[in-house]
Each structure stands twice: as C-alpha cells, then as structure tokens.
Amino acid sequence: MSRAYTAPAALTMAILFVVPMGIIAVYSLLSRGTYGGVLPPLTLESYTRLFDPLYAGILWRSAVVATIATVICLVAGFPLALFIARAGRWKNLYLALVILPFWTSFLVRTYAWMFLLRDTGLINTILLSAGVIREPLPLLYNYGAVLVGLVYGYLPFMVLPVYATLERMDKNLLEAAADLGAKPAATLWRVVIPLCKPGLVAGSVLVFIPCLGAYLTPDLLGGGKTILAGTLVQNQFTNARDWPFGAAVSLVLMVIVMLLLTALVRREGETLL
C-alpha cells in the first residue's frame, strides 16, 4: 500500500537521478576526451589519480570548512527557529522573512557581501571614519568571508526544519517542566532540544552537504585563492576539461558523505527518511 505513496517520487528519482548518475559512473571509468567529453577505453586511472595527498588535502579542508559553517548555522539558527515558533500569529510572517532574502539570486547576495566587506566597503568605511581603525581591515578574500557567505547562504536550511519540529512541540510538556520546577535554561536543554533533535539533524545535513560541494561562494568571497572540493569538481568539468576525473572525484565525495551520514544516523539512532 505504501508503495502507491512513494511511487511518483520513486519513478522521478529512478529516471531523472539514478539513470543520469549511472551515466556519470560510466564516465568515471572512461578516458578523457581531448576537448571535454569521454572516450573509450575503460580505465581505472581516474580513481588511482585520487590517491594523492594533494586531493586528499583538498577534501579534508572542505570537510573542515563545511563543519564549521554547519556548527555556526546550528548555533545561530536554533534560537531564531525558537523565536519564530513562539511568535504566535506572526510566525508565518517571521518565517517568510527568513526566506525572503533568498529569492534574490544567489550571486546578488554574494555580491552584497562583497560590497560590505571590501576595503572601501561599508564596514571599513564606517570603522575608518569613526576612527576605530587606521588601515582598512582585510575582511574579504579569506576563509572568514567564505564562512560568512556559507552561513548566510544556508541558514534557512537550518531554520526551516528546526522550526517545523519546534512548532509541533507540545506546549503542555514545557509547562509541565516549568511546573516541576525546571528553570527555563534547563527546560531548553533537557526537554526542547532533545525533542527537536530530528529537526536539528535534518538541518545540519541540509547545511553540511551543500557547503561541502559549494563552489561559487568559496570562489567569489575567497577570491579564488583556495580550492575546495566543489571548486575541484567544477574545474574538471570546465577549465581542465577532464570529465572522467571530475566524475570520479564527485563519486568519491558522495560516497564519503554517505558514509558520514550513515555513521551519524547509526550513532544517534536517528534517521531522516
């Protein structure tokens, strides 16, 4: 019976995801075409090339950046979701306000940050004229800027699922906790957070994964001075025109993330789907 419910989605995923990814898997086993594309013969070369400290280092650095961004989103997103969930009749408006900035193009948002963080940008101009600093602070084109961009870009992915679980939470439970003498902080820590764990886990996954594969933000706010996993893959498909290697890198990346996710799910005893 439940098959009937999942059928439309299953069919969509089978045709538009599994088959295309199968093609990519085949790509990763072929040889590089001179000008992009792929050619026979079959080879494992793209995978053996990955056993290289250079690429391992890039993957590791991406994981670190994505983890930090996720933790910041978690810490910053939870209270916001809590606020919205408790906002009564205004909560839909507040929720919409979280998403609204994200209906402008991703690139426009990134440019907005570049405009703020530049040497002659707003922050430096204000600090300079206030006499706080003598020389403009180098705010743009470093890891800090990349993190700001990632957090800004993916915060709603944290807020939405957390809000969805918080909103559903039984008010009586909180009152019961208060009646039993629990301080607000204790209620939050011992009752609210454990209850909205599914939302927190979902949010973290939704933030971590795109951060790991992001390439526009690191490139634009990091000034192209660093290379993360997303940029590496992107480069193979465009500049380097090495599709088999790009396919291999992305498949390996996907496997690593899947393993991490499975480990998380096992340990926490939580599943998302």
């Binding site: 909103e167 599914p198 994964i209 998302l272």
Partner: protein, 252 residues
C-alpha cells in the same frame, strides 16, 4: 531568556536583510560603479525595458511554480509512504541526490537528456528545466515533511482505520492536517531552491528557457551592474509584498 530571544531575533534579521537593503539603496545610485554619485532611477528604467530580463523572470516563475507544486505533492506523499514503510532504495537515492555536487547533477542530466534525444526528437527547453527542478527539490521536501512526521502520533491514524476510514481517507483527514506547517515550509523551500538555481539550470536550459538567475549571473559577472541591484530589489519587494498580503488574508 524571554528578553534575550527577541533581541537575538532582531540581530539575526538584520544579518539576513541588511546586505540586501544596502544593495537596494545602491540600486538608486547614479553611478555605474559602487561609488555614490546621487539619486537616480535609471537602473530601474533599464531593467524594466530589458525584454530578456522580463522573459527570464516569467520563465523563472513558471519553472519554480511548476517544480514547487509537483515536488511538494510527490515529496509529501513519498515522506508519508516512507513513514509507513521504510524503503532503503528510495531513501538512499534521495540522500544521494542531496550529496551530489550541483555541477555533477547538471552534467549527469545533460548527458541523460542527450541520450534520450537520440530516440525522441525534442530539444532542451522549459520541460527539461522543470523536470530537473522537480527532481532536485524532491529530497528537500521529503526531508522537511519527514522531520515533522516523526513527531506525529501513528496511533491517531490507526484509530481512524479502526473506525472504518480507508487508508487514503485516514491520510487525508487525519495525518495530512497535522503536516500542513511542514508542507508549507517545504513548498517555500522548494520554491526558493528552484527560483535560485543557477548551476543545474544553466546546463539543461535551451534557447527559450533562460531563467532569471542565468540572466543575473551573466550580468553580475560583467562587474557590479546596478541593473542587477534594481532587479534584485524589485524581486525582493514584490515577493515580500505578496507574502505579507497572503499573510493578511490568512489571518483575517
């Protein structure tokens, strides 16, 4: 804490909106460059007379609307189905679609379409874009709805079934009403992701299906074109007004 939370929310909203507000202010800048030279509406005039922009905006809205409706319906049903009975295959493919870097998904879809086109005589166009968007929105919708389902009491539905409801009725009348906030949230998320997507869309779009992000991206890459700021401001204010209006209607 009661007082701290609103204070924090104000700061968070400032963080979210200030960069765009500033961009909005500079959409009224006379100068082409990011140096203030005086008030002007010239970039708005330019944006409104830009037919490519208008066309791409219509395309974007159509794609996002279609992808949101289809993926929200499919995703909600799917989450429900998975909640009733787990399926590692479906869940696995949804997870995988999340962890696939956008560029890879774009290339994969393009390769797939090329392969299909060998048998069918079609070209890249709105249909290929919409199909791609439905696919990559599905996982997001399913996860958000699922997060909510996990806190739904299954006993209620069982009670409905015991009282003679068909499974479909039980879903529609008992479980679905409890899911509305999550369905709404996931629809918003799907719309946002679809409306904003550049990487995948740019791979699978044909001649007549350029979306707003594609036009804006091309423009912004040319350097800070204030026309982009004007368009961004119009989209933000327009959609914002829409949301506020919808909110007013609902709360009446």
């Amino acid at each position: 804490m009661k007082r701290l939370l609103p204070l924090y929310a104000v700061a968070a909203y400032l963080f979210l909106h200030l960069p765009l507000a500033i961009l909005g202010v500079f959409s009224f800048n006379q100068s082409k460059f990011i140096v203030w030279e005086g008030f002007s509406l010239r970039w708005y005039a330019a944006a409104l007379h830009d037919t490519a922009m208008a066309e791409s905006a219509v395309n974007s809205l159509l794609v996002a609307a279609a992808a949101t409706v289809v993926s929200t319906v499919f995703g909600t049903l799917c989450a429900y189905g998975l909640w009733k009975r787990r399926s590692p295959w479906i869940a696995g493919s949804l997870y995988l679609s999340l962890v696939t870097p956008e560029i890879v998904m774009g290339i994969a879809l393009l390769a797939f379409y090329q392969w299909v086109f060998r048998f069918l005589h079609v070209q890249l166009g709105m249909h290929t874009v919409i199909l791609a968007h439905v696919m990559f929105c599905l996982a997001y919708v399913t996860i958000v709805v699922m997060a909510r389902l996990r806190s739904v009491d299954a006993a209620l539905e069982e009670a409905a079934l015991d009282l003679g409801a068909t499974p479909w009725q039980a879903f529609l009348k008992v479980t679905l009403p409890q899911l509305w906030p999550a369905v709404g949230a996931s629809a918003l998320l799907a719309f946002t992701i679809s409306f904003d997507d550049y990487v995948i869309t740019s791979m699978v779009a044909g001649v007549d299906s350029e979306t707003l992000p594609m036009v804006v991206y091309a423009m912004a890459r040319r350097g800070g074109n204030p026309e982009v700021n004007a368009v961004a401001s119009m989209v933000t204010v327009g959609l914002g007004a829409l949301i506020v209006a919808a909110e007013r209607l609902q709360s009446r």
